[in-house]
């Protein structure tokens, strides 16, 4: 019977591989585009590149964990997982990239809204996620 973990491994590798395709295309678009820092499209492209790079990082790192679980008999993420000092900084780096990228994406797309709102929305959803995860 196929291991259940291999499905997670497959999904993470597949999604990280297409994140990589988007990264490559966005990278080439940014380097070919006119470098006008006031152009909203340029900000959007930078935002998408940062956002997708963050996702690639998170997915690829998760895939590496599950690859270790299924191919090298490492323990799956569990209570002892926090003992490894590398885990949280690696995930946090991805989260930071995703968050900065998302703010860059949202600002040019929502020109009619006061852009400063996104600096409040992101900490707000972080607090909501923390409350739901650890206080329910």
């Amino acid at each position: 019977m196929m291991s259940v973990n291999k499905f997670i491994e497959f999904m993470n590798l597949y999604l990280s591989s297409f994140d990589f395709c988007v990264m490559a295309v966005m990278f080439s678009y940014i380097f070919k585009a006119e470098k006008d820092m006031k152009d909203p499209a340029f900000h959007l492209a930078i935002g998408l590149l940062l956002y997708i790079t963050g996702h690639f990082w998170l997915r690829f790192w998760t895939w590496l964990q599950w690859y270790g679980v299924t191919h090298h008999h490492l323990a799956p993420p569990g209570p002892s997982w926090y003992d490894d000092p590398l885990q949280i900084p690696m995930f946090a780096a991805g989260m930071v990239l995703v968050t900065i990228g998302l703010i860059y994406i949202l600002r040019p797309l929502s020109a009619t809204i006061d852009n400063r709102i996104w600096y409040y929305v992101v900490p707000f959803i972080t607090i909501v996620s923390i409350i739901i995860t650890w206080f329910t």
């Binding site: 395709c21 299924t70 993420p77 992101v122 995860t133």
Partner: protein, 135 residues
């Protein structure tokens, strides 16, 4: 603190971010209706709108399975793994994301082929499956 709590937090955080991005892309598209197919920027926005729908669905579903496990509402086979019966839902999320990303990539890239990008994504899926189950 149970070990999977951080992943539960991460999934919810990313799902909420995805939901916000979906709403903003949706609002952007509504403002430009009915001229969606006249500008490359709206065609790209359609692609990312579809991508974010799939992404939000996938992350929310992953969060819900973990959250339900922690609350004792639903018991998957093992902590941190996915039950067989919910796998099609993950595949639906991945398919929606793939369709969205193909729509967006063909607009951003100089390579405008739908068939070409579908081939690239299929190749990605095959390579991922070979690495997961083949070796």
């Amino acid at each position: 603190m149970p070990g999977n709590d951080f992943l539960e937090f991460l999934n919810l955080f990313l799902a909420l971010q995805g939901a916000i991005a979906t709403v903003v892309f949706g609002r952007y598209l509504l403002d430009r209706w009915p001229h969606w197919y006249e500008e490359p920027s709206t065609k790209m926005a359609i692609g990312f709108f579809i991508f974010f729908i799939g992404f939000t669905f996938l992350r929310f579903w992953t969060f819900l399975t973990r959250f339900a496990y922690e609350q004792g509402w639903y018991i998957p086979p093992k902590p941190g793994t996915i039950a067989y019966e919910v796998r099609p839902l993950f595949m639906i999320g991945a398919v929606i994301m793939t369709v969205g990303i193909i729509c967006a990539l063909r607009e951003i890239s100089v390579w405008k082929s739908n068939v070409g990008w579908t081939f690239v994504m299929t190749l990605n899926a095959i390579l991922a499956a070979i690495l997961a189950w083949g070796i």
